[in-house]
Amino acid sequence: MKDFWKRFRYNRGAVIGLVILTIVVATAIAAPFVFPQSPWKMVQRPFLPPFTQDGLMLGTDALGRNVLSGLVHGAYVSLLVGLVSTIVALAIGVPVGACAGYFAGRTDDALMRFTEFFQTIPSFALAIVLLAIFQPSLTFVIIAIAIVSWPPVARLVRGEVLSLRTREFVEAATLSGLGNTQIILRHILPNALPPIIVLASLMVAQAILLESSLSFLGLGDPNIMSWGYMIGSARTVIRTAWWLSFLPGMAILLTVLALNLIGEGLNDALNPRLTRKSE
């Protein structure tokens, strides 16, 4: 653990990423305390530019809502969607990949065909279709993102399990009479954990981008203030009030950048041999 931290710290980008993410997380947690009022509430006249009014540091949007409050509440939504959808995607991808890699043969063929199918179809279009047909609630946004982002997990886990299952410690476990489930859960998956953690950190970043794109198109939960929604609703007034689109975009950029940097740092710290990142 000490070793891990040392290697992680050695990567300057990763440390910067960690600092940014800590700020975003703190902001998200503090949101309901700093701005107990709903971010949808009109507080002043519309289009108040930033730094012109005390108490409204970033001004107001086209409907007179507090921009800073929206940004802060948006941080919470972005992180929540990113985190939960990644967990759900892992819950689909890890078992699929583990079964494919462990049982090999026909099971592997069938599961990988299934995964390939989901990887081939355009994921963003699929997410749009899912959300357009079912009503977009926060839960469904999370499910839709998870559905389109699990295939890389399955492929990665399958590869790891394939290479681990022929190792001696697995043979030993088999000889000692352990069942398949026990072997996969206790002996194989813990060893496959490092690359899964790296991939998961990058998936949270991608999920945040995906969520913002969907809300931008108007497919987010209509009751929840998110960064993508803020940009989408400010799009029509970009000529007169460009900062309304600019600020939430910067928030997304910084958060996603931080997560990517952390992912890279984790990659260096957890498995020095794995230098290439794909998908």
Binding site: G13, F117, Q119, T120, I121, P122, S123, F124, A125, L126, I128, V129, L130, A132, I133, F134, Q135, A205, L209, S212, S213, F216, L217, G218, L219, G228, I231, R235, I238, R239, W242, S245, F246, G249, I252, L253, V256, L257, N260, L261, T275, R276, K277, S278, E279
Partner: protein, 323 residues
């Protein structure tokens, strides 16, 4: 080669059929009457139209009969009717598809060429200032929401500086023909294609750089150096050719992403492609159009994957051609 392509084609057809079944199930899983789903938002269609849909798709018959009718129609490129636009969906998509192919094609080539060049340049001098700048830029582009870059580019280069048009496919009412028209379209294409390409350029750059560095450590490169070959020759002929393979694999996998990105870019720049069509359909809850665009973009992605497979085979002579 022909057998290889045929094998891939068969696979592609199976995937397309699976998507059609998936679409069909979605229509039936959606809350409410499937006929209303197909007609678009309730209230848009009159009772006669709904009744017409019910008989046409046999909605009173068992599910597998309905599936058969649906598949038979889709194979003949009958993707249903858009009640909102009063046009068959296939025709709507057909009108818009060329613009999307132009946009995605240019963005793809641009991102791949520039990404590979930047990746090679960065890897040639690992750790130098140039490498740091290129790598940092790639990191930034990779983290930027595409629709936001598009908006900001339109704001800066079109609204503020007035250098390039930030809206539409060509100047409305200008009546250009021939070369002047092509030039006009090209000007309109610059901002959408560049913003769509940036994200992917970042991916290809990072991949090329990592891959170049990995290959350059291999033994055969040492041999080439020992033979006294020129640095540039080794870079190009020995390293790049091998390092490109994973980049092309990745490019093939990213094809679907580019179509996804096109939905956002076309929305921001009012580019008259199928992405913009999908955005309009989302707002109008025009489900037939949404499902149609989904199906056609999947077909485009499969076609694209087929092309990258063939390119891969051409570049890498070690590959054996089995389906």
């Amino acid at each position: 080669m022909i057998r290889f392509i045929l094998g891939r084609l068969v696979k592609a057809v199976f995937i397309l059929l699976a998507i059609l079944v998936f679409n069909f199930l979605l229509i039936h899983a959606a809350p409410g009457d499937p006929a209303a789903v197909m007609a678009g938002e309730a209230g848009a269609a009159d009772e006669k139209f709904l009744a017409d849909l019910r008989t046409r798709f046999g909605l009173d018959q068992p599910l597998y009969v309905q599936l058969w009718i649906y598949l038979k129609g889709a194979v003949q490129l009958d993707l249903g009717f858009s009640f909102r636009q009063q046009m068959p969906v296939a025709e709507l998509i057909g009108d818009r598809l060329p613009a999307t192919l132009l946009l995605t094609g240019v963005a793809f080539v641009l991102s791949l060429v520039l990404g590979v060049i930047a990746g090679v340049a960065a890897s040639a001098r690992q750790g130098s200032w140039g490498d740091t700048i290129i790598s940092t830029l790639a990191l930034l582009f990779y983290a930027t929401p595409l629709f936001w870059v598009a908006l900001m580019a339109a704001l800066v280069f079109s609204v503020w500086l007035g250098w390039l048009p930030g809206f539409g496919y060509s100047t409305i009412g200008a009546g250009y023909t021939g070369f002047a028209h092509a030039l006009d379209v090209a000007k309109h294409l610059v901002l959408p294609a560049t913003t769509l390409g940036l994200f992917f350029m970042a991916i290809y750059m990072r991949m090329t750089r990592a891959s170049m560095l990995e290959v350059s450590r291999l033994d055969f490169v040492k041999t080439a150096r020992a033979k006294g070959l020129k640095r540039s020759v080794i870079q190009r002929r020995h390293i790049l050719r091998n390092a490109l393979l994973p980049v092309i694999t990745l490019a093939g996998l990213q094809a679907g992403q580019i179509f996804g990105g096109a939905i956002l870019t076309e929305t921001v720049f009012a580019w008259p492609g199928i992405g913009r069509l999908m955005f309009e359909a989302i707002n109008q809850r025009d489900y037939n159009v949404i499902l149609g665009v989904f199906y056609i973009s999947a077909a485009m992605v499969l076609l694209f994957n087929l092309i990258t497979d063939v390119v891969y085979v051409i570049i890498d002579p070690r590959i054996r051609l089995t389906g």
